[in-house]
């Protein structure tokens, strides 16, 4: 092969767009990292990281947000997987409606959502067109010092915020493996619904589930509006407050959350190694 033909075959434009795209994402990240390392005048070091991690409130808020994220993921998966599965299997005509519903969190801002949630759940349930009120308001439901009602409310709010990402991930995963035919194949072999979902469907949408879970995790850990207005000690409001009073520590924590997200993505790659190929083989 001649040098000229090699040059002709080099995909110049592909590489140019790839490099421009990569720079768009990497430059701000690099700037954040660089800034976070310059806390000490005239030196590069990890002082901002040490101080940020030394703050007990960081660990508490991050731990709390992680717990909320896990709860949100569990509720989302429990709600969305059977819904998406059933729509693919039995109610394909409902798909457009459900897709529209899942897009609503993009249309309705979180600030509207939180005021709506507070207004509805901070007063007792009222029977429409009457003045009869039933039960205790959800926000008043406490177990000792644990605000059960508020925690239920915020997880429910996060499930709504994560809905577009989780639903789309799961639905795409199910489309890739043709769940309808796989279900029928399993049924003809005598499998019960439980076996079909646990042994056939879930393993084949595992990659999609993990992607949805990762996005949900990222949304919940960084969320500020809902957590601030419901007055809960989450990581988002903590980072926001820290940013108002400190310069270097928020950058250090932002970069750390990026690393955690990447680590999660790496775990997904490890856990689902070869899944893409397998899923395509139907």
């Amino acid at each position: 092969m001649s040098v000229a033909s090699r040059i002709r075959k080099f995909p110049f434009w592909s590489w140019l767009w790839f490099i421009l795209g990569a720079l768009y994402f990497i430059l701000p990240l690099y700037a954040t990292l660089d800034f976070s390392l310059r806390m000490e005048r005239g030196a590069i070091g990890f002082k901002a990281y040490r101080e940020a991690f030394a703050d007990l409130e960081f660990l508490e808020t991050f731990g709390y947000s992680t717990l909320l994220a896990v709860m949100t993921i569990i509720v989302s998966v429990t709600l969305i997987v059977p819904t998406a599965y059933w729509i693919r299997l039995r109610l394909p005509e409902a798909r457009r409606l459900v897709e529209f519903i899942t897009l609503l969190p993009f249309v309705v801002p979180a600030i509207i959502l939180v005021f709506g949630l507070i207004r509805v759940y901070s007063s007792p349930l009222e029977i429409p067109f009457t003045e009869i009120q039933i039960g205790t308001p959800l926000t008043m439901l406490n177990i000792g010092r644990f605000h059960l009602g508020t925690n239920i409310l915020i997880v429910a709010g996060y499930v709504v915020l994560a809905l577009p990402y989780m639903y789309r991930s799961v639905d795409t995963g199910m489309r890739t493996v043709d769940v309808r035919t796989l279900t029928e194949a399993a049924q003809s072999l005598g499998a019960s619904w439980y076996t079909i979902i646990v042994k056939v469907i879930l393993p084949n949408v595992r990659s999609a589930l993990l992607s949805g879970a990762l996005l949900t995790f990222a949304i919940v850990v960084g969320e500020v509006v809902l957590a601030s207005f419901l007055g809960i000690p989450a990581f988002g409001p903590y980072l926001f407050l820290l940013g108002q009073h400190r310069a270097y520590e928020p950058s250090a924590l932002t970069f750390t959350t990026f690393l955690i997200t990447w680590a999660a993505m790496g775990i997904i790659q490890l856990v689902t190694g070869g899944q893409g190929q397998t899923a395509g083989a139907h």
Binding site: V177, T181, E184, S188, G190, S192, V200, G280, H282
Partner: protein, 359 residues
């Protein structure tokens, strides 16, 4: 008593009847194909036997037991899908053993059966492979083994070869038939490929618009089609409009040219009736001293097409083009385009139908 019986089975979807009054008896060990164009109801009927669709009316029985209302998982029928439907997360051996595991067979029995099935489909070395590591033909063989591993009472195959290339299709259809004979299993095979149905089946059910047009052996379906649709759908057919000239002597007229048909074809018809006259291309031949009998027709050679084992010659008889097929051989003397010749066909070759033109 028949092994699989469908009695007056109908299926109505919201706005149309997919299957109408379907009646069929299938004997144990028989290989029956449902043949018809897209939308004729063949797959819907198969899915009703599998339990994936519920009949609007009628009953389905296997070995005398009414399974009409039974869930698909409780029917003990094996199903092979067009898209293979292998579980991508499981190896070949796990796929084949899936149904046995559900039936809680012991590990030893399961392993023995999986090995037996792998040997039947000649994929002994592929037990630990994943579906994506196999070719399309291999995947479909695994799907067949998986369906057969549970020892189903009936094996259902829904266009299993449609996604494969022509060569693999030929070898796999022979393999499917051989395995079905070896195991003596009752099989229902859905296809829109007439050659596939003719080559593989004990009997064929030809369907159109949700109804059975004809049930018969491949020989009966091809040589003695009962309706104009069957005649047109199975094989190639020359169909023209004609008029009954003399029903007693089986004489027909097409654009001034006279054809003679058998007495059988003239039953219930009288002179002046407008009918459809059909002749298969291979029933024509050039006139020789030996075959000069019933229908000797003047023609002009219009076109000659080489189709491999067959040469198709288009001849014009009284302004109408007819296809004539003759077997290819290296010493075949072909006429030239524009030549005048005489062709002939026996009176039994001239089939007569009422109604619309064939499909």
């Amino acid at each position: 008593m028949s092994f699989l019986t469908l009695s007056n089975v109908s299926k109505r979807f919201t706005d149309f009847d997919a299957v109408k009054e379907f009646n069929l008896d299938v004997e144990k060990g028989e290989f029956v194909s449902f043949l018809g164009p897209s939308g004729c109801g063949k797959t819907t009927t198969l899915r009703m036997i599998a339990g994936f669709e519920s009949p609007t009316s009628g009953t389905i029985r296997i070995a005398g037991e009414d399974i009409t209302e039974r869930a698909p998982s409780q029917r003990n029928v094996g199903m092979v899908f067009q898209s293979y439907a292998l579980f991508p997360n499981m190896t070949v051996a796990q796929n084949i053993g899936f149904g046995l595991r559900i039936r809680k067979e012991s590990e030893d029995a399961l392993r023995e059966r999986v090995d037996e099935m792998l040997s039947i489909i000649h994929l002994e070395q592929k037990g630990n492979s994943y579906p994506y590591q196999l070719s399309g033909g291999q995947q479909q063989r695994v799907a067949l083994a998986r369906a057969l591993a549970i020892r189903p009472q009936v094996l259902l195959l829904d266009e299993p070869l449609s996604a494969l290339d022509a060569k693999i299709r030929l070898s796999l259809r022979a393999e499917i038939r051989a395995i079905q004979r070896q195991l003596g299993i009752t099989a229902i095979y859905v296809t829109h490929d007439q050659e596939e149905a003719l080559s593989i089946s004990d009997r064929i059910v030809v369907m159109s618009h949700g109804r059975i047009e004809q049930v018969g052996t491949p020989f009966q379906i091809y040589n003695f089609p009962e309706t104009n649709f069957v005649a047109g759908f199975v094989g190639t057919l020359n169909t023209v409009e004609a008029e009954v000239l003399d029903s007693k002597n089986g004489l027909l007229r097409m654009d001034g040219v006279q054809f003679k048909t058998s007495q059988e074809e003239m039953k219930g018809r009288s002179a002046g009736d407008r009918i459809r006259m059909s002749i298969r291309p291979e029933r024509f031949s050039f006139v020789t001293e030996q075959n000069r009998k019933d229908n000797v027709l003047d023609c002009i050679i219009e076109n000659i097409t080489f189709l491999g084992s067959v040469v198709r010659i288009q001849v014009k008889i009284a302004g109408v083009i007819f296809n004539m097929d003759t077997f290819n051989n290296p010493f075949l003397e072909l006429p030239k385009i524009g030549d005048k010749h005489q062709v002939t066909c026996s009176q039994e070759a001239v089939m007569v139908y009422s109604g619309e033109a064939s499909a």
